[in-house]
């Protein structure tokens, strides 16, 4: 039983923080060393993260590589880590982006270099922590902590209007998440009697489960059947929709769904290349991940009631985001709005509550991280050279930057989901899932419109920027990508066809999570056949005080099976 069996996730999460400490000790006058140390830290983290990803067994228990020690026992919290398939995949995406973000910022950031890299490393830890948390309060802490370094990234190293964008981003997301905190705390109080209360995800979910099932039975039953509800089910009947709304609002802002998306274009436009990449690549997925992990499974009945509404918002997001792109002159804003459109697909696939839709949604989260991350990265290179974001300042630069153009066009095809690229698999499955779902066919048909509009705006932008005659004198001597830049883009370029032609290894890891998500979400659906064995969250119990004294000691599997998580 090695150290890594129990601590691998801890290593992945805190390695960036350790390197942050190293960076802290370096003098600020040594930018080269700071960059090198950060890069090494991120690369090491990539190695461990990839190891964790490969260690995840698709056929095994839902949560793997768990780690749990007591932590503020009086509140019912514990320090509990673990990843399921989706979290492992997003974790992989996060560590994949880490080193590339550092490489992308090498020349982009020229002042406060030390602080910048500190912020990057801390941000990495908080994002990984949020993904691996199995304690709701711990998740919340990481979720909020993420805001601080990102606020700094936008506010300190951003473009001309950075202060406004940073404050807007911070307050906007904070509003939602504070409401969610209220919901979390009230859920904590109602989900179990005093003494048995817990913030642990598994405990909380399992406690709510039977109440949710009886609530679903009565809501989908005859009129007035809900009057006879008692206890937790009654509370959930009354307050569940409100609590769901609080969760949903917090995550919807993060996704962002229409109409709470307006922080995104501002934040993206002002953020430095690293900020945009992380924001698009990982942070937006915290919203979809939150829906997937918390909002929908905790409140399946309320989610079921809100499903047509949320699905409508998602479809509006797809079409509206795409239409917004057609009205932009600012390239970064266009890419930001395209994120709104793409994340609309993620939400729609999830809300379809079909295996195809959920799989597509999860895959689309990864795809969006790759393709939009790469778009921001590539645009960052251009911005460094020209310091303009307006399409009208470019034109015909394919002539002077051919390699850059090729890279950009490949990523564009990925973004507009040409078959053979990663984007196609996600979009196809999302749309197929939507057509197969109990949502009306109109949702699928309107969402498919995004296929046309996506091509229209992306190719329009490509044409404006790359094709035509070189109209601006300043653009005549732009240099093509150098080796560092090519190396930064190359992983993305490789991932596009790999994820498009060999998606199955990725999908295999997502599959167990999608099955469970669909089972849990369809608890609230009328007439759905729920697979009971998929419902309960099986997780590691809190080790007894003897083992807690030596947290590194492993809890044997037998003990885990014998002592299921505490129930009311």
């Amino acid at each position: 039983m090695s150290f890594f069996d129990t601590h691998l996730l801890n290593v992945v999460i805190y390695l960036p923080l350790v390197f942050a400490a190293l960076v802290l000790m370096l003098p600020a006058s040594e930018p080269g060393q700071i960059r090198a140390v950060t890069l090494v830290g991120m690369l090491l983290d990539l190695v461990f993260g990839a190891w964790a990803y490969l260690r995840y067994e698709p056929g095994g228990p839902e949560f793997q590589m768990e780690f749990r020690v007591p932590w503020f026992e009086h509140f019912g919290t514990s320090y509990h880590l673990g990843v399921d398939g989706l979290a492992a995949s997003l974790l992989m995406l996060t560590v994949f982006l880490g080193p590339l973000v550092v490489l992308a910022s090498t020349t982009y950031i020229s002042h406060r270099i030390k602080e910048f890299h500190l912020a990057l490393l801390v941000l990495q830890t908080t994002m990984l922590g949020a993904l691996a948390s199995m304690d709701v309060l711990l998740f919340y802490i990481f979720f909020e902590a993420m805001l601080v370094p990102m606020y700094l990234l936008v506010g300190v190293w951003g473009a001309e209007d950075r202060q406004m964008a940073a404050v807007k981003f911070f307050l906007y997301t904070l509003v939602g998440s504070l409401l969610m905190l209220v919901a979390i705390v009230s859920l904590y109080f109602i989900s179990a009697p005093p003494g048995a209360r817990s913030f642990d995800y598994a405990t909380m979910y399992n406690n709510l489960l039977s109440a949710n099932r009886s609530l679903a039975a009565c809501v989908n039953g005859p009129e007035g059947a809900c009057a006879s509800l008692t206890g937790l089910a009654k509370l959930l009947h009354t307050w569940g929709p409100w609590m769901f709304a609080a969760f949903a609002l917090a995550f919807a802002i993060k996704v962002p769904m229409w109409p709470v998306h307006t922080w995104l274009p501002d934040a993206h436009v002002q953020a430095p290349v690293a900020g945009s990449m992380i924001l698009a690549g990982v942070m937006l997925k915290m919203g979809t991940y939150g829906f997937w992990r918390f909002a929908i499974p905790f409140f399946p009945v309320a989610a079921q009631q809100a499903r047509p509404f949320l699905a409508t918002l998602a479809v509006i997001g797809i079409v509206y985001g795409a239409l917004m792109c057609l009205a932009q002159r600012d390239i970064k804003k266009l890419i930001a709005y395209s994120s709104v459109s793409h994340l609309g697909y993620c939400m729609l696939g999830m809300l379809a509550v079909t295996v195809e839709g959920a799989t597509g949604s999860a895959y689309q989260m990864l795809n969006h991280g790759v393709s939009t991350g790469a778009l921001f990265l590539l645009f960052g290179f251009l911005y460094e050279r020209r310091h303009s974001r307006l399409m009208s300042d470019f034109g015909g630069i394919a002539k002077v930057m051919p390699v850059f153009t090729v890279a950009f066009i490949i990523i564009t095809f990925s973004s507009i989901a040409v078959p053979g690229t990663n984007g196609f698999i996600g979009e196809f499955l999302v749309l197929l899932g939507t057509f197969k779902s109990s949502l009306s066919l109109g949702f699928g048909a309107f969402a498919t419109l995004g296929v046309i509009l996506g091509a229209a705006y992306m190719l329009w932008m490509v044409q404006k920027v790359f094709f035509g005659a070189l109209t601006h004198r300043e653009n005549q001597h732009l240099r093509d990508m150098n080796l560092r830049e090519v190396l930064t883009v190359l992983p993305f370029i490789i991932m596009v066809p790999v994820m498009g032609l060999m998606p199955q290894p990725f999908l295999d890891r997502i599959a167990p999570s999608t099955d469970r998500f669909v089972a849990r979400a369809s608890v609230g659906a009328p007439g759905a056949q729920v697979k009971d064995d998929q419902l309960r969250v099986e997780a590691m119990a809190l080790p007894s005080s003897a083992t807690a004294a030596a947290p590194s000691a492993h809890v044997p599997h037998a003990a885990r099976a014998a002592a299921p998580s505490p129930r009311p």
Partner: protein, 740 residues
């Protein structure tokens, strides 16, 4: 003699050896594209030419071997593979297939990398790689002065790979990979000379227009998936029995091969007709799932109509044909390969591939036929007034594709496929001839400024003349027979309940024949006959190098020789003779015939055209050509310099401006969408959401804060006064409560 037949019946490489290597046919051009694209500049022009051509030549050799293998009947055993969706003994004859495992799977949906070569896709393999190779060879000379040769050949190889994927795919989704892949390659090649904004724009227009079709294609695919699910749930043993399968086998195949496999769709089509006595027929409503309440036949019609829109995008039919004429912005060999011979015929291929589903819906078939006829007529009329040689050929392609759609729509699939092949030969020859003309005349494309090339470009002239005769439908060239086979089928096949369609479409067909003869003769006469125009760019045209003339000659020979396919030389199953190509495609199209017979949706006619029919068609074509000859050789030259009537001028202007269809689309679709997005951005996004709600909230908070600020004055006396007043109020309230 027997020795020769035996030789042809024995494939040099046995089918079971070849089948697992089918992927090589796609991989070779793909590898060529990769090498040319990444290392092209290092390799230099000669090496790039060599690699690109040999990649396609290699694919051609493999295609020949594969094609040969699909007819292998060595030892009396016809080549076959077990049909995964059928019973144990059910085999697909005259075909090779191999499944390379899962591409992606989620839930009960699955797509495999499965390749299938039967006589239909085998023929197309030969056309794609054969014509493709000739065009690669031609391009080595045509692009000899272009800097971007590496990029060009990389794109061209990429296109060939995508097109091969399209025809070899054994399921709809993999077909869609090729379908969009060729669109992507086409986008890149149309915009090849990207420094010209108009050319880059034309590429984008092509892609986005195609995407509208792909939108419909995707929805149709989803509907088909839902339909397969509903069929699988509702069908009873008799339905499966009628399809030659059983529930267990069908379900097992679904879980292994996925619901979009063509063989599985074929089985569903065989199980659907009324006559099976089973529980499911076209009128049966679907009991559960998202399609609840709709009938199987209704959903099938909708799906087929959506596929029609998809095919209209790729094959340039109404209402999505507008991209093809603009696509002529690309290099001419590209126009020949992509926008004439191969890619644009993908829609025809799609319907032939799904013929057994299509015959279930007479409504969809009638729509296809009518759309084809109208497109064909419209394009022919526009072609009357175009002066750009490539534009005329482009509209003529649209028109010929319309004829193929007429054939597909009226159920004469083999003739549509034959016309696809012959059209690939003569249209590629015409385009390459046009390219040769441009190459020799300083890139002049205006036919009014050419003329008299007959003496200066002998090879180009000869081949162009042969191809013109072929497309016009002059006996005994291939175009005559393939077009006539289509028209014969159109006249004699009848759609159930829609008998009038046959007559209308046939009548339109004759008009189209005359129009085709007219505009093609016009192009030919103005370019090659008469005197050299005084506005010509170069005084004397020069004939092109052998790289360019050799493909022309080969294609011209093929345009003549392909007529053999239409001769009734093969014995028909029920006695009599049938055309070679019909016999040849019958393994592929037989399911469609049986389905049509069982469902009584289409009456398929198997007769061969009579001499009278041949004569009529021939006279119609001759009269069109004769009229053109009279007008352009005698009438107009005499009237040169005289004023033209106002009506004639107006008609010509409208036709020259393509009936203002582009402008119409601009006004009713593109402008409104742009305007809508602008308004949404300015009003909804910036003003309502961001300013009023988001900033409004912040503003209100700030205002309330600054208003409340005045309460925090720090004045102890004021605080005391407020406290006293509040206290008094409280006391007063308490007193009132008590006293009451």
């Amino acid at each position: 003699m027997d020795g020769i037949i035996d030789f042809f019946r024995t494939a040099p490489i046995p089918p079971d050896v070849l089948a697992p290597s089918l992927w090589l046919i796609i991989a070779l051009p793909l590898l060529g594209a990769f090498v040319c694209g990444v290392f092209g500049r290092m390799l230099g022009r000669a090496n790039v030419n060599l690699i690109a051509c040999s990649a396609v030549a290699g694919a051609f050799v493999l295609s020949v071997l594969t094609f040969w293998a699909t007819s292998d009947s060595a030892g009396g055993r016809v080549v076959n593979f077990p049909n995964p969706f059928g019973l144990e003994r059910d085999v697909v004859r005259y075909a090779l297939a191999h499944d390379y495992g899962t591409w992606f799977a989620a839930g009960d949906f699955r797509v495999n990398f499965g390749l299938l070569v039967d006589h239909l896709s085998g023929t197309l393999l030969l056309v794609i790689t054969g014509v493709g190779f000739l065009i690669h060879l031609y391009s080595t000379s045509y692009m000899e002065h272009d800097e971007g040769y590496a990029r060009y050949f990389a794109y061209l190889n990429l296109f060939v790979a995508a097109m091969l994927t399209l025809v070899m795919a054994d399921n709809l989704v993999l077909l869609f990979v090729g379908w969009e892949g060729v669109g992507m390659a086409s986008y890149l090649l149309i915009g090849f000379w990207y420094t010209d904004p108009a050319k880059a724009w034309a590429g984008r227009k092509a892609f986005v227009t195609n995407r509208i079709g792909d939108f419909a294609f995707l929805i149709a695919t989803f509907l088909i998936v839902l339909l397969v699910g509903a069929f699988n749930r509702q069908a009873d043993p008799r339905d499966f029995n009628a399809a030659g399968t059983s529930r267990e086998r069908y379900e097992q195949a679904l879980s292994e091969r996925g619901p979009v496999n063509f063989k599985g769709l074929e089985k569903m089509a065989q199980g659907l007709p009324e006559g099976t006595g089973g529980k499911v027929s076209l009128e049966t409503p679907i009991e559960s799932g998202p399609l609840e309440g709709h009938t199987f036949g209704g959903v099938m019609t909708v799906a087929m109509l959506l596929f029609l829109l998809g095919a209209a995008g790729k094959s340039a039919q109404l209402p999505l044909y507008v991209w093809l004429p603009d696509a002529m912005a690309g290099p001419t060999p590209v126009s020949a390969l992509i926008h004439a011979a191969t890619m644009v015929t993908a829609g025809v291929y799609l319907f032939c591939r799904m013929s057994s589903l299509l015959v279930l819906s007479p409504t969809a078939m009638a729509t296809i036929a009518i759309v084809g006829a109208l497109t064909s007529l419209l394009a022919a009329l526009i072609a009357f007034a175009q002066d750009d040689i490539k534009k005329v050929l482009a509209y003529s392609t649209v028109s010929q594709l319309g004829i193929m759609f007429m054939g597909v729509g009226m159920g004469i699939f083999w003739a549509a496929a034959l016309h696809l092949v012959t059209h690939a030969f003569f249209k590629a020859c015409l385009f390459l001839g046009a390219g040769s003309v441009m190459h020799g005349n300083g890139d002049e494309t205006d036919i009014k400024k050419l003329g008299g090339l007959r003496h200066e470009m002998k090879w180009t002239w000869g081949t162009f003349l042969v191809a013109t005769f072929a497309i016009t439908g002059i006996f005994p060239l291939s175009g005559f027979f393939s077009k006539d086979a289509i028209f014969h089928g159109v006249e004699h096949n009848h759609l159930h309940g829609l008998h009038w369609v046959s007559e209308v479409v046939y009548a339109l067909g004759l008009v189209i024949t005359a129009c085709t003869a007219f505009y093609m003769s016009r192009v030919y006469l103005l370019t090659f006959e008469g005197k050299r125009s005084s506005e010509a760019r170069v005084a004397h045209a020069h004939e092109s190098a052998w790289h360019m003339t050799l493909p022309l000659v080969v294609l011209a020979v093929l345009s003549v020789a392909a007529a053999v396919y239409a001769f009734p030389l093969m014995p028909r199953a029920g006695g009599g003779m049938q055309p070679v190509f019909e016999n040849f495609l019958s393994p592929v199209l037989r399911p469609a015939e049986t389905v049509a017979k069982a469902a009584e949706t289409v009456e398929l006619d198997n007769s061969t055209p009579s001499l009278l029919a041949y004569l009529t068609a021939w006279l119609v074509a001759i009269s069109g050509g004769g009229l053109a000859a009279y007008l352009y050789l005698s009438f107009f030259p005499k009237r040169a310099g005289q004023p033209v009537g106002a009506v004639a001028r107006a008609v010509r202007r409208v036709a020259h401006n393509k009936f203002y269809v582009d402008e119409l689309y601009e006004f009713i679709i593109i402008r409104p969408i742009k305007f809508l997005s602008f308004i949404l951005f300015r009003v909804v996004d910036s003003l309502v959401i961001d300013t009023v709600f988001v900033r409004g909230t912040a503003w209100v908070t700030a205002r309330v804060g600054s208003a409340l600020r005045y309460l925090q004055s720090g004045d102890a006396q004021a605080y005391a006064a407020v406290m006293a007043v509040a206290l008094l109020g409280g006391v007063a309230y308490a007193l009132i409560q008590v006293l009451q």
